[in-house]
Symmetry: C3
Subunit: 178 residues, 3 copies
């Protein structure tokens, strides 16, 4: 992992994205920062967050940030640290739930990543491989999620697609697999 490397780990629900991303971060030997975008709106979500935290134990410093990713990622990044953002798709959902300006938030994040001072690993859901959703908001959401994944993948040095806890490398050291 080079000093300013950006990594994107995409996949479905329960595909092992977070565990894989945590191993990548831990293998770097750097100080571990976890930026959690999830908010515990209900018991189901709270259980999911607790499950993730339990796995990370005390080796990680956890920062909760549902919205202002651009600022928090910029301020936290450093050459002796690795940041894991889990996950971009919930962040997008947080913005939409508050009627925020998705495009502006995404532009801010991408601008921040171009000047980042240390490595960042993003976890994101791929949500576009099912039947077209019947409601318009879900269709907009999957369009926005797909566009954001593409934009981060363009900046990323490494992109991994996960299924069943295993990864397929789609981009390595800045080179798309062909």
């Amino acid at each position: 992992m080079t000093e300013q490397a950006i990594t994107l780990v995409i996949g479905g629900a329960r595909s092992g994205k977070s565990s894989f991303a945590e191993r990548l971060a831990e293998d770097s030997g750097k100080k571990l920062y976890y930026i959690a975008t999830a908010e515990a709106h209900d018991a189901e979500m709270a259980a999911r967050i607790a499950d993730h935290q339990k796995r990370r134990e005390d080796r990680w410093i956890t920062i909760q940030e549902p919205l202002d990713l651009a600022r928090v990622v910029s301020e936290t990044a450093a050459t002796d640290r690795v940041i894991l953002v889990d996950c971009l798709t919930l962040w997008l959902s947080n913005i939409m739930c508050r009627d925020g300006d998705v495009e502006a938030y995404c532009e801010d994040l991408l601008a921040a990543l171009k000047n980042i001072k240390g490595p960042v690993i993003f976890v994101a859901n791929e949500v576009g491989l099912g039947i077209v959703p019947e409601n318009k908001m879900a269709r907009d959401f999957r369009d926005d999620a797909g566009r954001l994944n593409q934009a981060v993948a363009r900046l990323a040095h490494d992109v991994h697609f996960m299924a069943a806890g295993l990864s397929l490398c789609m981009k390595r050291d800045g080179n798309p697999q062909q």
Copy 2:
């Protein structure tokens, strides 16, 4: 790209299928023909079509054909042209919306492809990787879409799976990746 090569680009919504397919076509150095199966039933669809057209600018000759793909692809194909069909999944949806005979339409297309006079690139959605849809029509649709993708992939020289704007090659020069 050989003279009669068939290429299939599959992936989810907003996975970068169309852009990737357009680059493949443009790299061929041949005259560019775009067969659009989309119909602008509403403002959302019209915006999506306009977005795609804007990217292609004037370098492409665009033919709108919602149904009779077999004939239009056959008549347009030529060794100095490359045809991009975008997309097979909307075409299937167009047939179903008109209560057309899906199997007959698919057989006609596959028969046409076996005697095609020039290269064709197909874009198609993979729609079977979500939860089983609750309504029967959506289940039938994803079965038909999956079957069609398999049938075109069998004839194809190259098959690419897209996510986050990146491709994984599943078949190259007629050889499945193993």
Copy 3:
């Protein structure tokens, strides 16, 4: 295929999982056992089962087992046989429909696989790559299906991801692809 090899074939609906798994089994030269977890609750399901059986013809011995996979797989396994279990995701659905203890069933199956006496090929659906389902039961189901796929993939020697009838190898001879 080594004596106790476990293989997992995942993919979406109509992605060619069953056909691919059948070819793997037939290429082994061993006696062919098919463990069908599907139950014909309605005409749609009955047609799907009949379609699968027709393809396998008489070369296979078919065992119908909707629930007790651990026992049936253990009792059937042998070095001169290959077992194809089609599929894990329907099995999970069968357990949930009966309010069974998903965790206990999965633990029993995984324990059985650790002491298995012959090769087993599992087919499973990847169902987590669409939009988050609106109903809680569907969300639980895709979580359970994802966890089960990960657990079986950990034990598996080979894991294949299918789309359009083609496979991408995610793990080979016990080694994850990187």
